[in-house]
Symmetry: C2
Subunit: 380 residues, 2 copies
């Protein structure tokens, strides 16, 4: 009998996951969301079952997921940690892509106690990037440097920001404000977000500008490497404008007095940017990622490099960001369902990526779905 899966959240990424699991077969797929319009769209586009449910409380999540064999978490960031906790409390294996500011591995004890496994941060970056770093670090004896460059962009560049967001502008701006943690010479250092811009060329995409953001997350603790950085990429100029807006105070969450009203500048900024930064129906996007791990094995210095350039798929109507984020999670779910993921515990992807075959398997699954990743090892 097919295992049952419930996907928490029927947004762009949740519906891409549902479509993939339904088309792949072998699962009885349900999508849960509080929004009825979202659910009817998911039902008509994917053929998955739907279930209307308010998932804003842990109790509601526990009650819902208890009825399914497996869970995928694809809720907005504000629900991330407590939703994962509720899934584990309900004793369910799961794959999660929700961003959470907290450390998911703090729930490792709970998962072990319940005898279940959670693979967290399992999208594209964090996600596939972590698998690559884990694999790269396993391919060398001494790891010298880890570099992750990633960006999700609109295909069409429009003045002035040349950017659209797959999610809320407020969440994007949060990345431009939050101090970024890096590892340099074996020490964790904190740098200003948007700092240290550099230009990189990607064939077919052109020149992009990469700048510091806080994206290393669990890698800081799990990977023994003295130099690690993660940078976000946008079309050149975007970061400079964001710095100006930040300097002007428009990203501040401190309320200021405006003609008698108290207003958080970021709230006004989000309201103004939301319509400008939202993808139109059918508007194309592109996802670009480059991960490199440099190290030595047997005296040979090598750089392992993975490149991903993926575009909107007009046939399925799925944006690249939905596919590159959703398909690693569904690939991982299949592995979890097949019992090929160790456990119990909470696993960031780099732990699994270190094992031979896991990254290759995910890359193979992505390739079947039209998302190509190129790998090369070069003398460094």
């Amino acid at each position: 009998m097919a295992q049952s899966v419930v996907i928490l959240g029927g947004g762009m990424i949740g519906s891409a996951m549902a479509l993939d699991l339904v088309q792949g077969g072998g699962f009885d797929v349900t999508v849960a969301d509080v929004r009825t319009d979202v659910l009817s769209r998911v039902a008509s586009r994917t053929g998955a079952r739907t279930r209307q449910a308010d998932l804003s409380t842990p109790a509601a999540v526990r009650e819902l997921v208890g009825a399914y064999d497996l869970v995928i978490g694809a809720l907005p960031s504000q629900f991330g940690y407590r939703t994962l906790q509720a899934i584990l409390e309900a004793g369910r294996n799961c794959v999660d892509i929700s961003f959470m500011p907290q450390e998911a591995t703090d729930l490792d004890g709970l998962a072990r106690e319940k005898g279940v496994t959670a693979v967290v941060d399992c999208g594209v970056a964090p996600g596939v990037s972590n698998l690559m770093v884990g694999r790269g670090a396993a391919l060398v004896d001494t790891c010298e440097a880890v570099e992750i460059y990633v960006g999700g962009l609109p295909q069409e560049r429009r003045w002035p920001f040349e950017y659209k967001a797959g999610f809320s502008p407020g969440d994007v701006i949060e990345e431009y404000v939050r101090p970024s943690r890096f590892v340099e010479n074996g020490k964790v250092v904190v740098k200003e977000a948007l700092s240290e811009p550099e230009l990189l060329d990607f064939p077919g995409v052109g020149t992009l500008e990469a700048f510091n953001t806080d994206g290393l997350r669990s890698l800081i603790h799990t990977i023994r490497c003295p130099n690690m950085k993660e940078k976000t990429m946008r079309y050149p100029g975007h970061a400079g404008l964001m710095k100006v807006l930040r300097e002007t105070g428009l990203f501040s969450q401190e309320p200021i007095e405006v003609k008698g009203a108290r207003v958080k500048p970021l709230d006004l900024m989000s309201a103004l940017l939301f319509p400008k930064w939202t993808f139109a129906e059918g508007e194309g996007d592109v996802t670009v990622m480059r991960v490199s791990v440099t190290g030595t094995r047997g005296g040979q210095r090598t750089r392992h490099v993975w490149d991903l350039v993926d575009r909107y798929d007009p046939e399925s109507g799925l944006r690249s960001m939905s596919r590159t984020t959703g398909f690693p999670a569904t690939a991982m779910l299949r592995e979890l369902a097949a019992g090929r993921i160790p456990g119990p515990g909470v696993f960031p992807p780099e732990i699994l990526g270190a094992r031979e075959g896991v990254l290759d398997h995910v890359i193979g699954e992505l390739k079947k779905r039209g998302v190509r990743i190129d790998y090369r090892a070069e003398a460094a």
Copy 2:
């Protein structure tokens, strides 16, 4: 016996005027303002008499100015037109530098009826620029082109805006939003503010960027010339950033909903920019202006060019913008007091500039006060 003068408004420019009139002698000088702290500063710095008065109603203005022989208007733009009207109704000769969106010459009939003379728009630009255009147009038989470039800037350039304002950021931003009127091929054309950027070099200042703003005002009607433009100058890059902010909607006066409150984005923007755009005590500024009039006389094509580059005067503590705006008005007031200005009526400066000697006189007075203007006529 000395004639009595009342200066309406004791701000930066009003106090520069007071200082100049007191030091020059020949007038009994009073500064009127509603702010007592401003008045005590004026009294201690200039030696002028002061009078506390709320000038926000025409009746108050009429009552006040009736007690003096001559009036200088230096009030903020929102009081400009009705204050001028009240001065004329009171039957007083005056010089005015207040910006007003209305046409001051609409009050010409009132001035004639009362038998008094008003010289309006009598600062640096509009003001000296108008004298130059009037003079240049009188120096040719056929006028082909008028170009005015003007900017007030901080001496020290600070990222990101490299700008400070002598007045409210809201008023500066209004210039970046208001459509700009130009004359091209004999027709009035309207262009977007901040458009058509071009780079110009000024020795000692460096490269500045000039862009369209709505500054021709009365010249559109008074000067017969088929091509006239006025552009504002800032350090390069400023205009581009302002265009981004405008495009983002931050200069809009349409209220938007921000978490339950209704907020005009421009109000929030002004609140954020005010501390950043305000000159610090003793902070230096520079005023740059270039006016050219091209035309033919007796078959000879000539370009008449006036250049002004003026800086903060540490000795007097007067900013350049206060000096270059205030001293043309005091020079004109002396001419008015001496009976050398025709009348009655409302005169924009270009009408007076057309008469031989007027511009030279004002340039001479500015030179005595350290503000140098270079003139050259070149074959064109």
